[in-house]
Every structure is written in C-alpha cells, then in structure tokens.
Assembly symmetry: C2
Homo-oligomer: 187 residues x 2
DNA sequence: CCGATATTTCAGAAATTCCTGAAATGTCGG
DNA sequence: CCGACATTTCAGGAATTTCTGAAATATCGG
C-alpha cells in the first residue's frame, strides 16, 4: 500500500473497524479511499493503492454499490468504471441509517410480528410472547420516528440535532401555552 | 435444543442475526433466551436449552456482561450464578446505544481528531483532511445530540419519539411567537 | 484444609469468512 | 465478427472467528 501517510492512516483505520461495522477489511478500505479521494477511481487504481487483488476489489465495489455507498461515475473516453462515494456527509448518514435498518432491524421486526400472531401453548410461551410484544412495540416506535425524521430536509434535521434535549423545554412551553389558551376559553 | 416453539424461533432468529449485529451466534441465542425467560437462568440451564458447550456459555455470558446486557442475579441457597437481561426495554435501548457508540464510533472519532491535528504535506492530503473534517463535524454533532438526549427520562424520550418530525412544526410555531413578541415590542 | 461443585481458561478442532488467481463473461471500437 | 481490454465468477487456499473438552482455578460448607 503506497499512499500519503494521512490517507493511509485513515484507510487502515477503516479496514480495522470493518469487522465491528459488519463489513470486511477490504470493503472498509475501499470506502475510505474513495471517500478522501479528490477524483473518482477505477478498480486498477484501487488495487495499486491498497495492494489487494483485482477480484477482491471487484467484490468490494459490488458490496459498496449494494449499500449505495459507492457510485459509478462515467469518465469520458474511458471504458473503465470509476467510483466515488456520495459527497454529502448527511446523505451518507441517511444511506447508512437506511441500509442498516434494512439489514439489522427489519428482519427482526418481521419475525416478531409473525411470532406475535401465534397462540401461546403454555404459560412459558405466554410470558415469552409478552416480552416479544414489548420489544416489538419499542422497535415500532423507533422506526416510526425514524421514518418520520428521515424525510426532513438536511437543514431542519441539523437544526433539530443542534437543539438536542432542549426540545423538551419547547414542549413544556407549548404545554403551558395550550394550558393558558384552555384557561382563557374555559374561564 | 429443546424449547417451546415460540421461544425456539425467537432464539434461533437472534442467533442468525448475531453476525449482522457484531456478536456471535451463541451470544445472540443466550441473550434471546434470557430475555424471554420468566426467571433467571444458570449456565447449566442455558447449556441444556441451547445444546452448546458449557465453556461456550461461560464465554457468552462474559461477553453479555461486558455489554451490560446480562446481569447476575443471586438466588438464595444456590451457589450457581443466575442471569437475566435488564427488563426495561428502554434501558436495554440505552445500553445498546452506549455500547455501540463506544465500540463503533468513539475509536473513529479519536482517530479523526488525531489526523486532523497533522499538517498536510500535499494537496492530496489537504483535500483528504478536508473530507475527514466533514466527517468529524458530522459525528461530533451526532454524538453531542446523543449525549444530550440520553439524559432524558424515559417518559420524555418517549414523548419526543412520539412527536417525531412534528417537532419542526413546534419549532416554526416558536419562531412565529418570537416574531410576534418582537413585533409587539418594536411596533 | 478437604471435598464437592461452579466457573474460567485455553489449546486446538471446526466452522466461517475472506481473499486470490485463473477462467469465464461482458463490452467496446473497428 | 474479431481482438483488446474490462469486469465478474468461482473454486479452493488463507486467515479469522467460533466452539469444544480437558485442565486449571475459584468458592463454598463443613
């Protein structure tokens, strides 16, 4: 691997973290490389930069495309496919959230739904189902919130994040106002 | 593995999902089993229920304890350790978020900070560092929000979730009110 | 301190995942 | 249709992770 030290450190880190993120080392490294690269890269360039096999790069790119984290970019007068990552980090965040939800949450949600349909055949099963219902309710609430929030434009989303827990103050303020208005009407 | 069908299906699912969640099959299965079990279980009972080796269960329990997802429960007049999962699903959510952040986000944040301190030695490195700065800023913003929100009591947190994207309406309403008040003062 | 029981450690076997090189397939200009 | 190049597929070897059984360690009542 021959890369500027800064880039190399970044790429190696993504390789190492790969296993924790549920991707393999090469995929992590390819992503990191594309992310910091000023221009789209073709497979051969990635092979040279990372020192891995051509076929490994091919598979890695395929996986990144499946995640929508690598996008092919056509370069005029060049037959080879070139790839970049989406450049807006907020878009990357959305993509990551969407894909992880799809892979890590949705299957469980669907299994839970299925199991909750069944009739328990014993007290033990009844209790288990109750616990599954709790888990199901929580996941439903989270995904509903997520489906809602993901539609916000980036600017609003950022504003919401910046506000953080202070939104609750706003909620309280709202409640007070509502209380006031009710008081007026009724009083 | 001899378990009621409902429980078995749940346990097997968690085992299968394990790899996507960054834990191994046995750990997933142990967690699932403890989660739906009405009473704390000891290692031997887990061995019987799952049909895996005693040592595997021992290691699995150790890992779950490191995640704060299995807690030892002393049963009077019994030397053996018994385990449960935290029973409040919201608490489980908090624990999961905290642990995943610690394992999957913090290391990257710290690497990014370090790399951003360095002086780029080329235009390529300068550009890379710029991209890293974008990523760093996003992660900082997310973790700041998270650190903020995680302190909320469950009830408020749930309220916030239930509100979803509608908080933005509240934000707009607030802006209007502020505008009104300003108008009054100034007019 | 002893014996009984519970738990942990750990080396190596088993299973899984990752990576490679070779061959197959695809795609383009001429 | 051919030749040149680009990409993908895939069998099997390499690396890593998971799991087991045996041995070591820990803990308790007596």
């Amino acid at each position: 691997m021959k890369l500027p030290p800064l880039v190399q450190a970044f790429v190696l880190h993504f390789g190492e973290m790969g296993s924790r993120w549920g991707i393999n080392r090469t995929v992590g490294q390819i992503y990191a490389l594309l992310y910091v690269s000023p221009d789209p890269l073709n497979a051969e360039q990635i092979v040279e930069a990372l020192g891995v096999s051509r076929s490994n790069v091919s598979m890695g790119l395929k996986e990144l495309q499946a995640w929508n984290l690598a996008i092919p970019k056509h370069i005029p007068d060049d037959r080879r496919d070139h790839f970049t990552t989406p450049d807006d980090v907020w878009q990357i965040l959305r993509t990551l959230a969407e894909e992880r939800k799809k892979r890590e949450v949705d299957p469980t949600l669907s299994v839970l739904r299925e199991l909750l349909m069944q009739t328990p055949g014993s007290e033990e099963e009844r209790h288990a189902q109750e616990r599954m219902a709790e888990m199901h309710a929580l996941i439903e609430q989270l995904t509903t919130w997520y489906d809602d929030v993901k539609r916000l434009e980036t600017e609003r989303l950022a504003a919401l994040l910046a506000l953080g827990a202070r939104v609750t103050r706003l909620l309280e303020a709202k409640d007070r106002v509502v209380g006031l208005v009710r008081g007026k009407k009724e009083g």
